[in-house]
């Protein structure tokens, strides 16, 4: 082990000993009731973490994930918030029953979405917060300072809320989990029950928690 690595390791040990609460790992998760997604995440959206879901192709199933997550959180009697960056959520597309625990924020631009997400993630009353940035101006998203994401990550850790970030391209730096939807659904799925559609969503894991930890560790 090099001298620099030893120094970093010693520094980490020192920080862990001095600030044990910062070293606490959130536990538990929020199942999305989308089998491929839950399997990739090891049981559901991890609490206290950001998870990025990249819809790399149109109709990859990202909105169905939101719909299933609404149903799953309702069944678990948890509260959920949807920060809708481009105002795309369609209440009529999901059963009425699964809307009653939802706080939907209809934003008109990504800056609003980030401001709102910062408030909601810190709130402490939500089990999950979905930040849907699909449809937001790509230039504005690419100019987002990485500090915003780090701030959200710290806030999520503190409040143990599961945060799902929906994007159309990889956006969140050092995100613990990045999953990619790169296979479009077909019109043949239109008549299938939604749980069957959810089971057919193709999820590819681009980054897992271990990889992110290694990246952060340098």
């Amino acid at each position: 082990m090099s001298a620099a690595s030893q120094t970093v390791s010693a520094l980490r040990s020192l920080l862990s000993a001095r600030f044990p609460e910062r070293n606490r790992r959130p536990c538990g998760g929020v199942p999305a009731d989308v089998p491929p997604l839950d399997e990739a995440l090891g049981g559901g959206l991890p609490a206290g973490r950001l998870t990025e879901l990249v819809s790399a192709v149109p109709s990859g199933g990202g909105q169905t994930v939101v719909a299933r997550l609404l149903a799953a959180t309702q069944a678990a009697r948890q509260r959920i918030a949807l920060v809708d960056g481009a105002d795309g959520f369609a209440p009529g597309a999901v059963p009425d029953d699964v809307l009653r625990h939802l706080v939907w924020v209809r934003c008109s631009e990504s800056a609003q979405a980030f401001a709102v997400a910062d408030i909601l993630v810190r709130d402490g009353n939500y089990a999950a917060v979905v930040i849907d940035l699909r449809g937001c101006a790509e230039r504005a998203l690419r100019r987002t300072p990485s500090s915003i994401w780090h701030r959200l990550q710290r806030a999520a850790e503190a409040s143990s809320v599961a945060v799902l970030v929906q994007t159309t391209f990889p956006l969140v730096p050092a995100v613990p989990w990045r999953l990619v939807l790169d296979t479009p659904l077909s019109l043949a799925d239109a008549a299938a029950p939604r749980e069957d559609v959810a089971g057919r969503i193709a999820v590819r894991t681009e980054r897992s928690h271990a990889q992110a930890a290694e990246e952060l560790a340098g």
């Binding site: 149109p58 199933g61 009697r77 369609a90 999901v94 008109s108 479009p184």
Partner: protein
């Protein structure tokens, strides 16, 4: 302990200071008269070397930087209302005795609890910019003497011991009486009451008897009770109008403190707050806030008001502000054993208000579909406090990929082949949705409100593009559009 007196020394000075943020901590004096005749009437502790009666010019030379102001009747009225409101939280029988003084009839109150409440009120009033002193005793007079010696609360249990060392001036002798008594070698109330009342009366007449009774704290009187506030509102006019929000914050906090006292005194809590900014151009900005939890918590109110005001932009300067609290009885409820309620209701509702200030009132909440088949018809409601258990399985379970709407819908040109959409193209859709349709489902036709001017009719299709992607198309009298993506 039958009566209490709530008194604020230098009331006019404190009233002025609590109304203007810039005066806090500065040397301040009130003056009367104009020009060379202006004289100091009250001076703050910071005004070193300045005493009542001093010429204003001399005060400025003795204390550089001193702020000289005339009395402000509006501030004094507002401060007196705060004092009366605080008094009503101690007893329902209150007299607004004078500027900066209230007398409270405490008969029937539990002495220990009343004393604890008095200490609490004194601290709250001090926090609201009125350093009040509260004295309590067997008569209104004794209570007023106690208030003058209180720090900040004094309850007189042994009147004789308390009165004995007090200077004679407490009893308010005339100069002539004072001269006589000084000649007798009497300088304290105890010295006067040591004499026999009848002997004093024989030598000084009826006036002397009254003085003796005042010195003994025996003089009593009937209180002129005032009615508690029935409306919980406060209004202020700025002269000149203000352009920034800091003066608004400051004034609103003062209003909130007073209104909260008035509500508590009347046994109410606030369930809604109504804020009106009166603009210089004659217009106004109104906003109503439904409180997360009905209450009289000033800090909670201020967080909501500040969160809103921080985002408000008006076309003209603010010439006035009005705050109205809608009263309600304190909530008494018990949640169900298995209800999953909010962990932190105050934080939840405050954050909803903050978000509403960012995105707009109608763009945050819980959606509820309307009773119509019109596409994208829903209302935004107030989020529920408890997450209700899931209902049984739906009659019509959801099927297929979920629609994600484009708002507003994208206009598109659709070429049909044998009645089915075959090609999508359109200027707005370049690079987004364009291409050959490889599969289509539909049409689903719906119409409604045909008996109203807002009649609607739409034909809906679901298409799959050869290049990938499922889209929902709508055809109306206005042509085709892409309603959204099936995702």
């Amino acid at each position: 302990m039958k009566f209490a007196v709530l008194s604020v020394p230098d009331f006019a000075l404190h009233s002025l200071r609590r109304g203007e943020p810039g005066l806090c901590g500065r040397a301040l004096a009130l003056v009367s008269g104009e020009g060379r005749r202006a004289r100091v009437t009250e001076a703050s502790a910071e005004a070193q070397g300045v005493a009542p009666g001093l010429a204003a010019t001399l005060a400025m030379s003795r204390c550089p930087g001193i702020v000289l102001r005339p009395r402000d009747p509006a501030s004094e009225v507002e401060a007196q209302r705060l004092l009366v409101a605080a008094a009503f939280t101690l007893s329902p029988r209150v007299e607004s005795t004078d500027g900066g003084c209230c007398t409270i009839d405490l008969q029937g109150a539990d002495p220990a609890r009343a004393e604890a409440l008095m200490r609490l009120r004194a601290a709250e009033l001090a926090g609201a910019g009125l350093p009040a002193r509260i004295g309590a005793g067997a008569t209104p007079l004794l209570a007023s003497y106690a208030a003058r010696r209180a720090d900040p609360v004094l309850v007189v249990r042994e009147p004789r011991d308390f009165l004995a060392p007090l200077p004679l001036s407490f009893a308010g002798p005339t100069p002539e009486q004072e001269g006589i008594l000084r000649g007798w070698g009497i300088a304290t109330l105890g010295g006067l009451t040591a004499l026999a009342k009848a002997e004093v009366g024989r030598r000084m007449g009826a006036e002397g008897v009254l003085l003796w009774e005042r010195a003994a704290g025996e003089a009593t009187r009937v209180l002129r009770h005032v009615e508690p506030a029935l409306s919980f509102a406060a209004q202020w006019t700025y002269e000149p109008p203000v352009e920034s929000i800091e003066p608004l914050f400051f004034k609103l906090r003062r209003f909130a403190e007073r209104v909260a006292f008035e509500l508590r005194g009347a046994g109410f809590v606030a369930e809604k707050l109504s804020l009106t900014l009166l603009l210089e151009d004659g217009g106004d900005h109104r906003r109503e806030f439904r409180l997360p939890e009905p209450g009289a918590d000033v800090e909670g109110w201020m967080r909501i008001l500040n969160g809103h005001l921080a985002e408000v932009r008006t076309d003209a300067r603010v010439a006035g502000v009005r705050l109205v609290a809608a009263p309600a009885r304190p909530p008494e409820k018990q949640e169900g054993l298995f209800d999953t309620c909010l962990r932190d209701p105050a934080s939840f509702w405050e954050n909803i208000e903050r978000i509403a200030a960012i995105v707009g009132d109608d763009r945050v909440g819980t959606p509820a579909p309307l009773d119509t088949h019109r596409p994208d018809a829903f209302s935004m409601g107030r989020p529920a406090e408890a997450v209700a258990p899931a209902a049984g399985p739906p009659v019509h379970p959801a099927s297929g990929p979920t629609l994600r709407r484009f708002r507003p819908p994208w206009p598109v040109r659709v070429t049909c082949d044998a009645g089915l959409p075959a090609l999508l193209e359109g200027g707005r859709l370049e690079g987004r949705v364009r291409g050959e349709v490889c599969a289509a489902l539909g049409p689903w036709r719906s119409a409604g409100d045909w008996w109203k001017p807002q009649a609607w009719a739409v034909e809906t299709w679901q298409v799959e593009l050869a290049a990938g992607g499922l889209y929902q198309l709508a055809r109306t009298d206005g042509g085709w559009c892409v309603e959204g993506m099936l995702d």
